[in-house]
Structures are given as structure tokens and as C-alpha cells.
């Protein structure tokens, strides 16, 4: 589903991502972990088309997408969330999804003039159903800026799903959440995977990622130092070293 082939991104002399290769299989939850500054977010930004790689290739669904712009990637089925929430605060909750909605779905709906005369009731209805999955249906007409932190995180996830992606990139979705919210997020990520979406999950919260991920890769200083099932990765000596420091 997603293949990174010897991917590198250098910022001046800093090798943020240094020759990383990954192979994420269709329908799995793939975890990406590593200490701060190990290049996880840079990888997401590279895949999502916000940054151009210095070298290497990105392949989505057997298609080379290296160098494509973000909006083109969304059309190919790659959606993402952000580490620091980036919603459209001055738009209503449902409009946040409206903007991100899959193009095909819009084309399937009625022509624009009758929809407008109707106050876009059908659009709001349809998006209301999307919002139900995230438990935000009752906030449909509120401004996104007025939501609580947890609700904003859920809305951002819903917005990514509105694009009907094949590959979902989640950049630290649990940051700032309490235990209860994390448990809910765990269920939600599994539900997304079960609906056939491949998930690339970046997370600092070890409990969550060890529980939910099918496979995990570990980054340190821009390089992949381990890859495998959660238990294998946890036992890996280099991983322990990266997180805990060298034994004396």
C-alpha cells in the first residue's frame, strides 16, 4: 500500500530523514515511533506532499507519487491529521468536513442550485452521518474554534476520513489526551482499519501504539533502527538504547 524507498530529507546539514525504507501492507496499522527529533513528522510531511524529499521514492498503491502536491495525493487517497491540530476555526464543524469531502461523493449529489435553495440541507445531513462516527453530531453547527480540545482532535480525524482515504496518516493523535480518550481513540483506529483503510500511526504514547499497531518501525536520528511486531521491537537492544540510553 505504501512503500518508502531509501527516502532522505536533508535540511542544510541536518539529515532529518536518512535513507529510510518501509513497506506498509494493505489493511494494517503500521506504527512509527522514535525519540523527539528522530524524523517521524518529517516522514509524514514527505508522504503527504508538504515537503519534497532530497532523494528516494514514495510509492502509494504501486504508483510513484514522489513530488506530487498535497491536494493531488488526497485525490489518490492519502489523508492526514496534524500533530498540532489545524482545523478551520471560523468554519462550522460540518463545513470543516464539507471542504474536505471526497470529490466523487459530491458529484453523486444533486446539482448546486436546488441544493443551495435548500440551505444545503442534504449536504449537512450527509455530513451529519460522518460526524456521528466521531460523536460530534450534536455540535454540527458550532464553530470549530469553540470545540473542546478532545472534540477538535476527533473533528480533525473525521475531516481526514471525509476524504475517504485508502491510506491515513495519523501524526500523534493521542497527544494531550487523557486515558479515557486514548481508549476511545484505540477503538476508533481499529474501526478505521477494519473498514479497509491502511493506517500509518505516529505516536509517543507507547501503551497505545503497542496495543494497536500490527507492525512497528523505530526511527532514531533519521534512520530506521528496528522493525517488526510490537513485542519484537520492544525487546530490540538498539531500541532500548535509543529510548533509555546505553547501559553503563
Amino acid at each position: 500500500m505504501l512503500e518508502l524507498d531509501n527516502l532522505s530529507k536533508h535540511f542544510g546539514g541536518v539529515k532529518a530523514v536518512d535513507g529510510v525504507s518501509l513497506d506498509v501492507k494493505k489493511g494494517e496499522i503500521f506504527g512509527l515511533i522514535g525519540p523527539n527529533g528522530s524524523g517521524k513528522s518529517t516522514i509524514v510531511n514527505l508522504i503527504a506532499g508538504l515537503l519534497l524529499p532530497t532523494s528516494g521514492r514514495i510509492i502509494v498503491d504501486t504508483r510513484d507519487v514522489t513530488g506530487l502536491q498535497s491536494h493531488a495525493l488526497v485525490a489518490l487517497g492519502v489523508a492526514r491529521t496534524f500533530q498540532n491540530i489545524r482545523l478551520f476555526g471560523q468554519l462550522a464543524v460540518w463545513q470543516n468536513l464539507w471542504v474536505a469531502e471526497n470529490r466523487d461523493r459530491q458529484r453523486r449529489s444533486q446539482p448546486v442550485v436546488p441544493r443551495w435553495l435548500n440551505g444545503f440541507a442534504a449536504d449537512r445531513e450527509r455530513i451529519g452521518k460522518l460526524l456521528e462516527f466521531s460523536g460530534l453530531a450534536h455540535k454540527r453547527d458550532d464553530l470549530a474554534a469553540n470545540l473542546s480540545f478532545g472534540e477538535q482532535r476527533r473533528l480533525e480525524l473525521a475531516r481526514a476520513l471525509a476524504a475517504e482515504p485508502k491510506l491515513l496518516l495519523l501524526d500523534e493523535p493521542a497527544a494531550g489526551m487523557n486515558a479515557e480518550e486514548i481508549e476511545e481513540l484505540d477503538r476508533r483506529i481499529r474501526a478505521i482499519r477494519d473498514s479497509g483503510v491502511t493506517v500509518l500511526l505516529i505516536e509517543h504514547h507507547m501503551e497505545l501504539i503497542m496495543a494497536v499497531a500490527d507492525r512497528i518501525a523505530v526511527l532514531n536520528f533519521g534512520q530506521k533502527i528496528a522493525e517488526g511486531r510490537p513485542a519484537e521491537v520492544q525487546a530490540h537492544p538498539q531500541v532500548r538504547e535509543a529510548y533509555l540510553g546505553k547501559a553503563a
Binding site: A48, G49, L50, Q69, S70, H71, V74, A75, A79, R80, F82, R86, L87, F88, G89, Q90, L91, Q95, N96, W98, V99, A100, R103, Q106, V112, R115, W116, G119, F120, D123, L143, R159, A163
Partner: protein
């Protein structure tokens, strides 16, 4: 009477100018090129009616279209820059247009006079309205028909998905991109639409003043163009209209009796208005309040409930108790 008709004409043209900047501002771009697009629309439309003897409406549409094409072409390079650099780039373009018309001569003989633009002298004898016997009143009505059409179109655009997309781009470009929005297309389209509206404003302006010159499209006009939507607020098109009425109707004309002191007060009042209403004259809260009123007006039960709450909350003072009794007497409840 003619004074007020003239004032309405000015307000109409400036509303169009402000709306042209409104569309562009929604995407978060500040453009000082709107006066330049207005100049292009003015010269093109005037040349078509005076030199080519076109009818007004097609000439206006042609003027708007040429301005739109130029705006589209300006939009592409302007996309590469943002923030202050974009302001400077568009300012430079606006001035380039003005200086082009400062040097632009194209006169032909028409009977015993020569007509057409003549550089610094300007373009005189744009006599479409007097030649066709339009009264000032008719011209005013015509201008407001155009303004009304443009406002309705933008209101519709604002309420449809396109409006949400423009605002999304204005709020967060990176997030908008990641939602599948093509930034280049959206920004260039906004610029093009803004150019078309500014071109229409110019075309109308040229015909009602009958004489245009490069100085009519200077940096001051460009500044006004972006000041209207900013002062009026970006929640909807009526904010821009309110700001134009406030500035052109009240500050520029209403305070004329103050003589030279007017300009001092003018600046102070704009600063005051922006401090009192930082989100614009018609900000999101006002719009929401108006929306609630509209819903209330449709629902008599809710209306009575709110009035009842108002009355009971204020029942402590004698005056308000009297109001309450009166309301209750309207409702026909016992104890009135």
C-alpha cells in the same frame, strides 16, 4: 437631490471595488492591485463605447473580462509570494497599470473632435449616458442593479461550498492543501473573480464621471478597496456595503462641513471603529445575532418566550414591571 443621487452612485461603485477586494481577502491575500484592475476595466469599457460605439452592457462585460484575464495572469506569479511581499508585488502592479495609462495615447477623429485616451490628459468625453438621454436617477438605478447582482452572486458563493473553501484557504493553507484543496486554483480563481468585479466597477465609474485619468486609480483608491472589507468584516458581503456607507457617506461627505478638520477626524474615526469593532462593522457575532432574530421572527412561541424572559428578568424596576404587565396583557394572560 442630484447631490444624493451622485453620492449613491459613488457608494455603488466603491461597494463593487470593496467586494472585488473582499473575494481576494477571503483567501487570506491582501491585494493592492484592485485599483489597477479598475483602471483596466474603465479604459477598456470606455474605449469600446466611445471609439467602437458598443452598447454599455457588452462594453462593461468586456472591460470586466479583460481585467479578469489580467488578474488571472497576475495571480500566478503573485502566488509565489505571500504576506507583505504580496502586498508590495500587487502595489507595484497597480502602479505599473497607472503609469501605463499615463503614457497611453489612442485617439481617433470623430466629427470635428478627437476622442480617446490621451496620456496624462486623461480620457474625456465618455458621453454614453448623456448621448442616450439617461437621467442621473436612471444611472443610479442601473448602478445599483449591477451592485445588487454582484452582491447576490457573492452571497450565493459565500453560502455554497466555494465560500467554505475560500475561507478554509484563508485560515490555514497547509490544512486546506491536506484536505485536497488545490491552492493555486483557488487563489487564482479568487484573484480572477476580484479582477472581474473591479473591472465592472471601473467600467461604471468611467461612464458616470464621463472623464477618467490615471490619477483616479492611484494607491489611495487601492487602499480604500481593501479598507472596506477589512473595516466592514468578512462574515458576509453586507459588511463591505456597511463600511462603504460609513466611509463614503458619513466620513467623506457627511463631515464635509468640518472643512480641513475633516481629514483629522476621518482617521480618528476609522481607528475608533476598528477598536470598537475589531472583527469588522458586521462581525460574526452580529451576524449570528441577526440570524437568531430571523429564526425567532418565524417562531411566535419562541418570540413570546424570549420576550417573557426579558420582562421577568427586568421586573425588579417599576418601569420594567409596567412593560411586563403590558406584554402579559398582549398575551391575554390573567393578572394583567
Amino acid at each position: 437631490m442630484d447631490f444624493y443621487l451622485g453620492l449613491l452612485q459613488i457608494i455603488g461603485v466603491h461597494t463593487l471595488l470593496g467586494l472585488s477586494a473582499y473575494v481576494v481577502l477571503l483567501t487570506g491575500q491582501v491585494s493592492l492591485a484592485q485599483a489597477g484592475f479598475m483602471a483596466i476595466g474603465a479604459y477598456v469599457a470606455a474605449m469600446l463605447t466611445v471609439l467602437a460605439k458598443w452598447a454599455l452592457l457588452p462594453a462593461m462585460l468586456a472591460g470586466g473580462s479583460v481585467a479578469a484575464v489580467v488578474a488571472c495572469l497576475v495571480g500566478f506569479p503573485a502566488l509565489r509570494v505571500r504576506g507583505l511581499i504580496l502586498v508590495v508585488a500587487t502595489l507595484a502592479f497597480g502602479e505599473a497599470v497607472r503609469l501605463f495609462f499615463f503614457n497611453f495615447d489612442y485617439q481617433i477623429a470623430m466629427g470635428d473632435i478627437r476622442v480617446g485616451p490621451l496620456g496624462g490628459e486623461g480620457f474625456r468625453q465618455i458621453r454614453y449616458f448623456p448621448e442616450n438621454g439617461w437621467t442621473t436617477f436612471q444611472v443610479m438605478v442601473f448602478i445599483w442593479l449591477v451592485v445588487g447582482t454582484v452582491m447576490a452572486a457573492l452571497w450565493w458563493m459565500d453560502r455554497s461550498r466555494a465560500g467554505a473553501v475560500l475561507r478554509a484557504v484563508g485560515e490555514d493553507e497547509v490544512a486546506a492543501q491536506s484536505c485536497g484543496i488545490n491552492l493555486t486554483a483557488v487563489k487564482v480563481l479568487a484573484m480572477t473573480a476580484g479582477g472581474f468585479i473591479a473591472g465592472l466597477a471601473g467600467a461604471i465609474y468611467a461612464h458616470y464621471t464621463t472623464h477618467i485619468e490615471q490619477g483616479n486609480f492611484n494607491i489611495m483608491v487601492a487602499t480604500f478597496a481593501i479598507a472596506y472589507p477589512i473595516l466592514g468584516g468578512l462574515s458576509n458581503v453586507f459588511g463591505t456595503l456597511a463600511a462603504v456607507v460609513f466611509i463614503q457617506g458619513f466620513l467623506v461627505e457627511g463631515l464635509r462641513f468640518l472643512g480641513d478638520w475633516r481629514n483629522l477626524l476621518f482617521g480618528a474615526l476609522i481607528v475608533l471603529a476598528m477598536n470598537l469593532r475589531p472583527g469588522g462593522l458586521l462581525d460574526a457575532r452580529t451576524t449570528a445575532a441577526l440570524q437568531r432574530l430571523r429564526i425567532l421572527a418565524r417562531d411566535p412561541a419562541a418570540w413570546r418566550r424570549v420576550m417573557g424572559q426579558l420582562a421577568s428578568g427586568a421586573a425588579f424596576s417599576g418601569a420594567h414591571a409596567a412593560v411586563r404587565r403590558r406584554i402579559e396583557s398582549w398575551r391575554g394572560s390573567p393578572g394583567a
